[in-house]
Symmetry: C2
């Protein structure tokens, strides 16, 4: 029986129990960012629905397509793989026209083009609202999993924490876009960190992309690697625009940074020191934000004290789907 | 600009023009039953939505899952490949519970189990109505395409034409289920013809699965192979239950057989004579229903006369999506 508040994790656990393992070709299936095959094939699926995952009031179809593609390819980056092909199921609402299809697919194709990947097939069905289900394939000879973190590793993150959510809230609340340019860019087009992942792969142990919020995503590494992650609050890369937004909207900065999702940055662990200096070569900031220890869970070091950080990121099912009573 | 009545074919054409080819790994992409990679990997995607593709009033969740899986794996059969893994995006309506997830995924997993395939990943999002987007992967060393038909070939079909639609209409119209047992079975659980495809592959030239209706599917082979298909009306395998349904519901039998979709049978061409006798070995009927000639289009031979057969199968977009004005 399902209890109130069953979340995505529990649903995935249920499915993992029903879906029997049958193929020796598949090394890793349900439970990581993507499935991994013995020959280095990597496959991931994501679905996006109007009003749940995107808002047509401030994103045009090209941006919606691009953003969905970025999110899906980010799971390929999270396995240190290079994307090859994407399959697109389009749920098209009544009155969706040829120019709409063109706009949407141009947005998706442009992101594929950055990485030499292509849209290689799909399906189109009519539906009450716009939706996309994207399945991306990639290739890697050096896969990295959530389970690769080891005590003694440092914890790193690319880019800025919660910058994408800063942009979303700036747009949604009609704030002055000039004051939130970087944040809006990261929300509208969160280019997946594929180049960074392929460059950093020799140094990476455990890896995930930050899609559900730092506390939740760090929790996945902790659980899958059976370690504890200690995050140093003072070292979190927080963009000025995020500080500004929290001040303007009176949000708690610490909570906002720990729980905001869809950054699509890399969160990884490594024993290599000084990875921050790779910054200049990659053009993307890399910050050491903590360390891996024996134990479990995610812990936040702040003002000299360490406290346990609960996963406060977005849980799709818990938030919207299942009855609370 | 889109004109009135733009259908699926035109939408696919549009997408094929936008989606640039970039990967030398991909031999065949948009425009066949599945994409084909150089190493024999085959990938296909299908989406299913409540009230459009299935009706929960007479199908339980296990049957809905099984039927969707059959439909998707049929595209793998249509490339003469063996399925390995399926990725499932679930659009779950409000109040969808653990036991619902269990039922739905058990239905899907059972079909995978018949062929040694597995559900290897996916996504779950909340949505206003139940939906599934399935991406199936398969492997083949001997792919067959729609474009393989050659003048001089015979045209074959497995099973019975329009049997699945017979079952659907029997259920929908509340007819006596005892009189439509075979038809209802084929509608509810159209086991994909994977074993048949793998067995027949040495003989097969051009191949498609019948999902959109015989006239439309035969048209795809004709177009892609640049040939004409002449179908002999008298040789079409029509089940007694289909004759009975057309009598009971006063439907035109010839039109019904030419245009009813979702049979998920194999329609193929071959120079090998006498394939019908394979029947006993496979347990599935195989019927020679016509021949391939120089020319174009699909033609129906009936009462000594040959007339052109327009594609009258189900066009999803034309029927439901795009404005007619």
């Amino acid at each position: 029986m399902i209890r109130s508040g069953m979340g995505e994790a529990r649903a995935i656990e249920l499915i993992a129990r029903i879906a029997r393992r049958r193929s020796r070709e598949i090394v890793k299936s349900i439970g990581d960012d993507a499935a991994l095959f013995r020959d280095g094939l990597v496959v991931t699926t994501d679905a996006y629905l109007e009003d749940v995952h995107f808002d047509r009031s401030y994103l045009d179809l090209s941006a919606i397509g691009a953003r969905a593609m970025c999110g899906t390819l980010s799971d390929i980056a999270a396995m240190c793989a290079k994307p090859t092909a994407v399959f697109v199921s389009l749920m098209a609402p009544k009155g969706f026209r040829g120019r709409d299809i063109r706009e949407l697919y141009r947005g998706m194709d442009a992101i594929c083009g950055l990485f030499g990947a292509e849209i290689a097939g799909g399906d189109i069905i009519s539906a009450p609202q716009l939706g996309l289900a994207l399945t991306a394939l990639g290739r890697t000879r050096t896969p990295r999993l959530r389970s690769g973190a080891r005590p003694g590793d440092d914890v790193y993150v690319t880019g800025h924490c919660a910058l994408a959510e800063t942009g979303r809230l700036a747009l949604k609340n009609g704030l002055n876009p000039k004051k939130y340019g970087n944040a809006i860019d990261r929300h509208v087009c969160p280019i997946p960190r594929i180049r960074e992942a392929l460059k950093l792969v020799p140094a990476i142990h455990g890896l995930i992309d930050t899609s559900d919020g730092l506390s939740t995503d760090a929790g996945h590494i902790a659980t899958e690697s059976a370690v504890r992650l200690v995050i140093d609050a003072e070292r979190l890369p927080i963009h000025d625009e995020t500080r500004q937004l929290c001040a303007e909207l009176k949000l708690d900065l610490a909570h906002f940074v720990a729980s905001s999702g869809e950054d699509y940055e890399l969160l990884f662990t490594s024993t290599n020191g000084g990875l921050e200096t790779q910054n200049s070569k990659l053009g993307t900031a890399i910050m050491c934000i903590g360390r891996v220890e024996e134990g479990n869970g995610v812990w936040l070091l702040s003002g000299g004290k360490t406290r346990r950080l609960a996963p406060t990121g977005y849980d799709h099912l818990k938030a919207e789907l299942l009855p609370r009573a």
